[in-house]
């Protein structure tokens, strides 16, 4: 007889909302007439994500940590905090997707992705007013996958979530309207390397199952605390970590990041940079502390080394970039290293402020990087977005407001006080030093200084250089992008000046359920 697993629908409401919106979006795509599809799809996606955000916030009101769906999902503080973060950032990304007044062709996405790039049909479609609407259900599925990822209490669920979030991302990375070949190359590269990473994860899962006889995180923990040094277990753990670090774009598993960030349509890049990072770190935290918390000596040195490599590679290679999207990609690699500093700032028993600090950092980094990419969509030349550094010269004189907002985001990424970036950095560094990881913190501080140089370079170009004659122009953003910029800029300042309330929230949320 098959037992029906116990389901707590209240605890699952955020997930159900998002995934339901995604399914509904697919139906709309199939049945609604073309001319109403865009507004309907945007509405559904926004209702799904904003609804999920509201649902997670409601769940925190009378909050009880539970394990539901037959033990496969953990609805605890970190899960809810990260789900809310993903839903919120996801809603902002959807708004960026929906921007229609910047590009003369009225969308950042290709109308028909299957038409070969450069063919007569492609040129014909370039000027058509039709817009691509499949991206909305795809992105919503990805958001659902991410929200599932951070709540997975079971390696198998984690793998399913990984695929649910990854597959739509592979697709929408290839859907840029302009520079289509670059975009398609990015998608293929992302898919191939992502498939490898998934295979690593799956193989690791199999080995861990072989070693412990279970895929449930709590049971793995028990098995690991009895015998944490079995070859099979360690090998499995290593492979699982590799798979997750790939998604989090931690060096040395970062090589896809610059290419994909550059090639993907900028709203998609913003989405990946903000949301995927949150989801991947949510899973890393859960895997390491819930499943392998008692065997931390096995992975701590590894994460320690990887954090250093990631910070150094991100900061140093970021210096040499001349394309803003690639630069922000390396910045993302460096920030992944800073985040791992926070991950290490958590004691094996869950003590220390590392979990709260990492979650807070994810929120601030997500908001800031999303805002920075949103500014990138505004600065354009005749051939779409102008992402080469030299085209930004003198932007401060021509478009003071846009330059000021970008400068704010860059200062925040550099971690200058009174911006959210500083609060986040302070939190993770404090957590790391409290756990005695001060050599790592010193490296992190030096890497911050190096990274600050390339952020500053953009400010120098925008403000202290004379405008170039064939420089970029700044488009007038429509309502969606304006909302995104207003929200992210306000949050970046507010979390820098008065972060108390949100830090408090993160602190309260920072306990895993086993």
């Amino acid at each position: 007889m098959i037992e029906v697993p116990d389901l707590s629908f209240a605890a699952l409401a955020p997930l159900l909302l998002v995934l339901g919106a995604a399914c509904l979006g697919v139906l709309v795509e199939a049945f609604a007439p073309r001319d109403v599809r865009h507004p309907v799809q945007v509405t559904i996606a926004l209702v799904g994500t904003v609804g999920a955000l509201a649902a997670t916030l409601l769940l925190t009101v009378d909050f009880e940590r539970t394990v539901t769906a037959g033990g496969a999902l953990a609805v605890d503080g970190p899960a809810l905090f990260l789900q809310a973060t993903i839903a919120g950032l996801g809603a902002l990304s959807i708004l960026l997707f929906a921007e229609r007044s910047l590009d003369p062709a009225r969308s950042a996405f290709v109308v028909s992705a299957a038409v070969p790039a450069g063919s007569p049909r492609d040129r014909e479609l370039l000027t058509t007013p039709r817009v691509q609407t499949e991206v909305y259900p795809l992105a919503t599925f990805a958001i659902g996958g991410m929200m599932l990822f951070v709540a997975a209490n079971d390696l198998l669920i984690m793998f399913v979530a990984l695929e649910v979030l990854s597959l739509p991302l592979y697709l929408i990375s290839g859907m840029a309207r302009r520079r289509r070949l670059l975009s398609q190359e990015a998608a293929v590269k992302y898919f191939l390397l992502g498939a490898f990473a998934s295979a690593f994860f799956l193989y690791g899962l199999a080995l861990v199952y072989g070693a412990t006889g279970s895929v449930r995180l709590s049971e793995i923990r028990e098995a690991a605390s009895v015998d944490g040094s079995g070859t099979l277990l360690l090998l499995g753990l290593g492979l699982l970590i590799v798979g997750l670090l790939f998604k989090a774009s931690v060096a040395p598993f970062h090589t896809w990041t610059p290419d994909v960030y550059q090639g993907a349509p900028t709203p998609v890049t913003a989405f990946m940079a903000a949301c995927t990072k949150v989801a991947a770190f949510g899973a890393i935290l859960r895997l390491l502390y819930v499943a392998f918390g008692t065997a931390e000596w096995t992975w701590r040195p590894l994460i320690y080394a990887v954090a250093i490599v990631s910070m150094v590679i991100g900061a140093v290679l970021g210096l040499t970039q001349t394309d803003l999207k690639r630069m922000l990609a390396y910045s993302s690699v460096a920030h992944a290293g800073f985040l791992l500093t926070g991950v290490l700032g958590l004691g094996s028993g869950g003590e220390g402020s590392g979990l709260a600090a990492t979650m807070f950092y994810l929120l601030t980094y997500g908001l800031t990087t999303l805002g920075a990419f949103a500014v990138l969509t505004l600065v354009r030349d005749g051939d779409g977005e102008a992402t080469h550094l030299s085209q930004w010269a003198g932007l401060g004189a021509r478009s003071p407001l846009t330059a000021a907002v970008m400068a704010l985001f860059l200062l925040a990424l550099a971690g200058i006080p009174l911006t959210a970036g500083f609060t986040g950095k302070f939190a993770v560094f404090r957590a790391a030093i409290e756990q005695g990881a001060w050599p790592l913190t010193v490296v992190a501080l030096l890497a911050s200084a190096v990274a600050a140089f390339f952020y500053l370079r953009v400010i120098v170009l925008m403000y202290f250089s004379e405008p170039v004659p064939d420089g970029a122009t700044v488009g007038v953003p429509g309502i969606p992008t304006t909302i995104v910029l207003a929200v992210t800029a306000t949050a970046t300042l507010a979390l820098g000046i008065l972060p108390g309330a949100v830090l408090d929230l993160a602190e309260q949320a920072a306990r895993f359920v086993g």
């Binding site: 609060t423 302070f426 939190a427 403000y463």
Partner: protein, 535 residues
């Protein structure tokens, strides 16, 4: 704890003023200047009122106010001043309105609207007040770092020809120092967590900690390197000549007059009381750096042909004296060092302002482009002379008192260092008087020279750039200098500074009364010889 609003207002008023000025329409630049001047005068008034309210014999920190800021970090928005911080606030209050006056036409010719310049200036003032008034280490750190941003934009947007390089160099040097300090700040917090059970950044609580000597050394170095870059002491100084030379005059005055004092202020406020053992351990090293800096920077100053670079190097030399006074660990030398911080702000401020006025007339920063100015612009030359004499600490000027106190106080404790440092005084006379003589006396020559008496006045100055070709040309027979003397605006800027130089040279007692108790408390924190309290 009674809440006093003076300090909050001194941060809030300029911050709000900055927002107002930035929001003014582009064409209302006169209004922007007037608002800026008004706001800076209000801050001066507040500083004076705060001084009146300050009780010299009262608690160490007064005018305190505090409100919970980031409870999770144990950080408070806590303000308060001791005598040292108070005189620095007075210095800020005095300098900023004068800088506004001196920079009245600074941004008029540039591509960027003047209101931006003045908005950054006011924001900088708010942050400078915050740095000196913070009694919470994290709050101090936040102001310490955030202060870079307005100065970075002032140098980068309104500076000389190499402003991009100078601005980035300034920012990165300070940022690296700041990040090293951040590690130490967090380290201090962790120590406080383990000793007090709950982490705190409150200065008074941190002062009570009993830190292991080895940990102290590391933390001391973290703070020290940041302050030594800021102050700047010799191996960390290379950013200052670039920034000082490329910054607009107003920015340069505040940079060496106030911003760099945060470094020496930090030695006194944080390094000495928080890490007394480490301070004693490292004192010989710091003294070596200080004395080397005094001599080395003075020699470099003599070799400069660019007036703004020259003044920057003189400042590095003077910062050596201040560091010497602080790390001699006597009340007398310490008091002298703090007074030196104020006097240097006034004297070097005036020197920068006058040099700026000369540059505004000639359009060149090179000493060789000027000559015989005194005959045609006696007021300008007079102000230049007073500023120069104050810089070389002639008796009767304010700097003499402080330099004398530093040397007397240090001699008791560290005779050898003091004797070497004294050589710096002779070098100071050389570099100042040589610059004065070359530009102000001798035959008329250089960029201000025009043929004939009927020519129109000098064309509007261009930014930076040497017009040395003109200087090289042989002087025609009926050549004459056409140079405006100081106008009323410029006199109004120069006169208060000259009055302060003479006034504080003759009667420094009120400032000494403010400074001495705070310094003596600091020195007793270090536990070294607390020195004679008689002056």
């Amino acid at each position: 704890m009674s809440a006093s609003l003076y300090l909050v207002a001194m941060i809030g008023v300029p911050a709000v003023g900055a927002a107002v000025v930035a929001a003014l329409p582009r064409e209302r630049s006169l209004l922007a200047k007037q608002v800026t001047l008004g706001v800076s005068l209000v801050v001066l008034l507040l500083a004076v009122l705060a001084t009146v309210a300050f009780d010299v014999d009262g608690d160490r920190f007064q005018l305190t106010s505090s409100i919970s800021w980031i409870p999770d970090f144990g950080a408070e928005f806590a303000l308060g001043v001791d005598g040292i911080a108070l005189v620095m606030l007075l210095l800020i209050g005095v300098l900023v309105p004068l800088v506004v006056g001196a920079s009245w036409h600074e941004a008029d010719a540039g591509p960027r609207p003047p209101r931006v310049f003045f908005a950054w200036l006011l924001l900088l003032e708010a942050m400078m007040v915050g740095v000196f008034a913070a009694t919470d280490v994290l709050l101090f750190y936040v102001f310490f770092e955030a202060m870079l941003v307005p100065m970075y934009f002032l140098i980068g947007s309104f500076g000389g020809p190499r402003r991009q390089y100078a601005a980035v160099k300034f920012f990165l040097y300070s940022l690296v120092g700041g990040l090293i300090m951040l590690a130490a700040v967090i380290g201090l917090y962790v120590v406080s967590t383990s000793q007090l059970g709950e982490g705190t950044f409150a200065f008074d609580a941190l002062r009570q900690l009993d830190i292991d000597p080895d940990v102290q050394k590391l933390l001391f170095l973290g703070f020290f390197i940041a302050f030594a870059i800021k102050a700047p002491l010799v191996p960390f100084h290379t950013w200052l000549p670039d920034s000082g030379a490329e910054a607009p005059i107003g920015g340069a005055v505040l940079l060496v007059g106030v911003l760099d004092k945060v470094g020496t202020f930090g030695f006194l406020r944080y390094c000495l009381p928080l890490f007394p053992d480490a301070s004693r351990f490292f004192a010989p090293l710091v003294l070596v750096l200080a004395v080397v800096g005094i001599i080395y920077a003075a020699l470099l100053a003599m070799g400069q042909s660019d007036m703004k670079r020259l003044v920057s190097y003189t400042s590095i030399s003077h910062f050596g004296f201040i560091a010497l006074g602080i790390f001699a660990f006597t009340t007398e030398a310490g008091t002298g060092a703090v007074l030196y911080m104020v006097n240097h702000g006034i004297a070097t401020g005036l020197l920068f302002v006058v040099v700026g006025m000369l540059i505004a007339r000639g359009g060149s920063r090179e000493i060789g482009d000027y000559g015989g100015v005194a005959k045609h612009a006696p007021k300008l030359a007079g102000a230049f002379l007073v500023a120069g004499l104050a810089s070389l600490a002639l008796p009767g000027t304010n700097s003499f008192v402080s330099e004398f106190l530093v040397l007397i106080g240090s001699f008791d404790a560290r005779p050898v260092f003091t004797i070497v440092a004294t050589a710096g005084i002779i070098l100071a006379a050389l570099y100042i008087l040589l610059m004065y003589q070359r530009t102000m006396h001798g035959p008329p020559r250089g960029v201000l020279l025009v043929e004939g008496e009927d020519e129109p006045a000098v064309s509007p100055p261009t930014r930076g750039g040497g017009a040395t070709a003109l200087a090289a040309a042989p002087a025609p027979a009926r050549a004459a200098l056409r140079v405006r003397d100081l106008d009323r605006r410029e006199l109004a800027v120069v006169a208060p500074l000259i009055a302060l130089i003479i006034g504080l040279g003759v009667y420094p007692q009120p400032l000494l009364d403010l400074i001495e108790p705070a310094v003596s408390a600091t020195i007793s924190d270090v536990g070294a010889d607390s020195g004679g309290t008689d002056r």
